[in-house]
Structure formats: structure tokens, C-alpha cells
């Protein structure tokens, strides 16, 4: 067993974990954060994407012990005061999901992308989410949602979110 201390969605947790425990297992089974899902379990699909110290990662390909001392942001840490994050809202507004299973990872990767490139072209969005598979939508509305969110998150736009802190990947 190894002792780890992490900040997840703004709260500090301390736990003893087996070294073999994956970060996604830790989030789901220890912390109950089942918003982060396991899709393929082979590092392909990106459904388990979270932010680790401000960068998107596939949490099935990180050991929980590797997150010791780090900040983790999951899809459950995005909303503020009952308001969805602009990217979450854009996914809703643009019907950017059908079964919804890829959505948590898509949203986390899209936020990472927009933090890096606040005004991506359609091609840049497609490349930015290439590590996330969706088997329902054909990606059209996902790409639209990301571009819609980008517009609403521009300085001076009317989104009522403290978007910049989340975009930077801060845990809270």
C-alpha cells in the first residue's frame, strides 16, 4: 500500500492505495466520482479523460500513485453554483451526444483544447479530440459544440461562467 494525497475537484483526499490501482479506479471506486467512465480499457477511447495538473490525461493510463501530490479535475468539478461550464452547456445546446458515454471525456478534452487554442478551426477541433472516440454522433455536433463554446468563452462574451479558471485546469 502507498499513501497518496490528491486534490480532486477542489477537495483534498488522502488514501492508502495499492500501486496497481489505476487513477480511474481510484476516482470511481474510492471517491465515488462515477462521472468519469471507463470505455475501452485499452487507452484508445478517451472516455476516462480527466485533467492532471492542468493537462488532459487518460485516467486508465495513469496509476493512482502517480497522481500523489497532484490536482485532478474531473467532469464533476466543472459546474459552478449550479451552472454548467460553457463547454457542458454547449454540448447540451448543440445536441453533441447521443448515448452520452463518451461525453465526460469529450468535454474534458475539449476544455483542454480551448485552454490551448481559444478559437480553433473545425480541423483543429477534430485533431484536438482525436484521442476521444464517439460511436454514435459522427462528431458533427461535437465539433459544433466546441466551436460554439469557444465563441461564448471569448472575453466579453455573455457566458456567465468563471470559465478561465476551469479552462486553465485549476481544481477549484
Amino acid at each position: 500500500m502507498a499513501r497518496i494525497r490528491t486534490t480532486v475537484d477542489g477537495l483534498v483526499y488522502e488514501d492508502d492505495v495499492e500501486p496497481r490501482m489505476l487513477l480511474v479506479q481510484y476516482l470511481r471506486e474510492r471517491l465515488g466520482k462515477t462521472g468519469t467512465v471507463i470505455g475501452c480499457d485499452t487507452s484508445n477511447c478517451g472516455a476516462c479523460t480527466v485533467h492532471l495538473d492542468g493537462l488532459s490525461v487518460k485516467s486508465c493510463s495513469v496509476l493512482a500513485v502517480q497522481a500523489n501530490g497532484s490536482e485532478v479535475l474531473t467532469v464533476e468539478g466543472l459546474e459552478r453554483d449550479g451552472q454548467l461550464h460553457p463547454v457542458q452547456q454547449a454540448f447540451h445546446d448543440n445536441h453533441a451526444l447521443q448515448c452520452g458515454y463518451c461525453t465526460p471525456g469529450m468535454i474534458m478534452q475539449s476544455i483542454d483544447l480551448l485552454g490551448d487554442n481559444p478559437d480553433p478551426t473545425e480541423q483543429e477541433v477534430r485533431e484536438g479530440i482525436e484521442g476521444n472516440l464517439c460511436r454514435c454522433t459522427g462528431y458533427q455536433n461535437i465539433v459544433r459544440a466546441v466551436q460554439d463554446a469557444a465563441q461564448k468563452m471569448k472575453p466579453g462574451a455573455s457566458a456567465s461562467q468563471p470559465a478561465t479558471s476551469s479552462v486553465a485546469g485549476g481544481g477549484a
Partner: protein, 283 residues
């Protein structure tokens, strides 16, 4: 699947890591960025007794200039490689190839040293290091040694790194002002290369004065396309010249046949992609 149990240590210096590997015996394995190794553990294709995590060793990260060389710490992530000004300026080929590795999430975690030590024949970073005549700095119980890229890749997933050794850095000569292109052929986004070509060329006054070309997935190890290089050097740059020289790209290769491509198709791809890569690098 959940990996089998293992012990875990996270040393904070290369010396400690070398000691941990020695203490761990034959079943100890090194964890770098984990983007190949953790899937291997999850699929239970590997069952180490001890995992030595290099993630806590600050001296293994970062890019620096040392005289006429650019030195990249083995634990520098792909993400950091693609954004590094020294590499973009002096070793553009490695920056270009690294941009094509997997996807953003994997590039945030995966490391240059880890990818090279893993030595997957379809991996994208071995061919550029071969083309660039990189040197591999390896630390072990007897101290540090340096291996040339031509001697580093021995076979499928097999390198010159000994069981008690750690790859600590990759040293690149400077190719300042050279054009570079990594031309990759795969079926879908984030898939492994079926074939890829790493090309960097120096063009002066319309003449190709130097050329380095490495091939990905045309054998168990990366292959240097020396026939193409010698056919290019001294020639006036033109599409015709490049396409003609590229016909030598499959010489000395031994590509595999698998579900993605037969060996003859891989040979065809090597020629076509070499032409494209050199033209883009020279453009």
C-alpha cells in the same frame, strides 16, 4: 483489466533509480510516461515484481544546449518536446515527428525516452533519432555510457539498454536551417504508423547539399534510407529528382505483412512517402 500486484518505488535521483533496479532483480521494470507500459500491465502482458517510477527525477526532464548538441532528458514529455524552442530551431525533425504521436492525452504523459526504450517498430520517434545520428546516454551500475543510434535499436522491442540500466538522455547534433518532415501513413486518427518516413534535408541555392532519411515500420528496427540520401545529395532540387531518388527507399528493408498491409504494399508506401517527405522538407 486491473494489473497484477507489484511493488512500487519512486526514486528522486538517477543513482537511486539504478540502485532500485539492481535491488529489484530480473523482474523489476521501469515506468516512464506509462502510455505503453501501463496498458501492458493492464492487459497482463507484463507482470513485474517491482515498478521503478522515474517520474520523480527532476534531472531527467527538460531540453538544454550543450555546445554543439541539444540534449533532451529522457523523461521530457512529447508535449514538452513539441513546444520546445531549441528543438524547433535545431532539431525540427524530432518536433515534427512528435506532433504525430498518438493523441493529446498520450502526448501529455508519454516521454521521448520511454518511447525510444519501448522500441515499438511502429513507434514514430526511433526513425527520426536514427536519421539524426542521435546519441543515447545510458546510466547503470558501472556508470554512464553513450550508444550511437545505429547501435541502439537491436530488434522488435529490443534496445541496447541492459536490464540494470536506464536511458537518461538523448543527444542530438544541431541541424539548424534544415527542412524537416515526418510523413505518416495510417488508417485512422491516433493509429500506429503502417509506414512513416522521417526526412530532413539541407537545400542551398537550389541544390540538396545533405539529406537524412529514416523509415518507420519497414523492419523490426528503424531503417536508414541511405540509397535515397546518396541519390539526393548534390542534385538540383526538383520534384522529378526527388521522386526518382525515392525509388531507392525500400532497399535494405524487411517489412512485415499484417492485417494493415502486406510487405510489398509497405515497400510501395515507403517510396511514395519518402518522395512526399523530402519534397515537404525541402519546400
Amino acid at each position: 483489466m486491473i494489473p497484477a500486484s507489484f511493488d512500487y518505488v519512486r526514486p528522486t535521483s538517477v543513482a537511486e533509480a539504478v540502485q532500485a533496479l539492481a535491488d529489484g532483480g530480473d523482474d523489476a521494470k521501469i515506468l516512464a510516461g506509462g502510455q505503453s507500459f501501463i496498458p501492458v500491465l493492464r492487459l497482463r502482458m507484463g507482470d513485474p515484481s517491482l515498478v521503478v517510477d522515474l517520474g520523480g527525477i527532476a534531472e531527467l526532464r527538460g531540453v538544454r544546449e550543450e555546445g554543439d548538441k541539444i540534449v533532451v532528458g529522457a523523461m521530457t514529455t512529447h508535449h514538452d518536446v513539441t513546444r520546445d524552442d531549441l528543438l524547433n530551431q535545431h532539431v525540427k525533425l524530432i518536433s515534427e515527428a512528435t506532433k504525430t504521436v498518438a493523441d493529446f492525452q498520450v502526448r501529455h504523459r508519454g516521454t521521448l525516452g520511454g518511447a525510444l526504450a519501448h522500441a515499438d517498430p511502429a513507434g514514430d520517434l526511433a526513425a527520426p533519432t536514427l536519421a539524426l545520428d542521435a546519441e543515447f546516454v545510458i546510466a547503470g551500475p558501472d556508470g554512464e555510457r553513450t550508444v550511437a543510434s545505429a547501435d541502439f535499436f537491436e530488434d522488435y522491442f529490443t534496445t541496447a539498454i541492459g536490464p540494470q540500466e536506464i536511458l537518461t538522455a538523448i543527444r542530438f547534433p544541431k541541424y539548424t536551417g534544415w527542412g524537416a518532415r515526418y510523413e505518416k501513413f495510417n488508417r485512422v486518427a491516433q493509429a500506429w504508423s503502417i509506414v512513416a518516413v522521417a526526412a530532413t534535408v539541407k537545400v542551398e541555392g537550389g541544390t540538396i547539399t545533405d539529406a537524412r532519411i529514416g523509415l518507420t515500420n519497414m523492419a523490426g528496427t528503424p531503417v536508414r534510407a541511405r540509397g535515397v540520401e546518396s541519390a539526393l545529395v548534390g542534385q538540383t532540387m526538383s520534384e522529378e529528382t526527388v521522386r526518382a531518388a525515392a525509388q531507392a527507399a525500400a532497399e535494405g528493408t524487411s517489412p512485415t505483412s499484417d492485417a494493415d498491409a502486406g510487405s510489398d504494399y509497405r515497400e510501395h508506401l515507403a517510396k511514395v512517402l519518402t518522395g512526399r517527405a523530402v519534397l515537404a522538407a525541402a519546400g
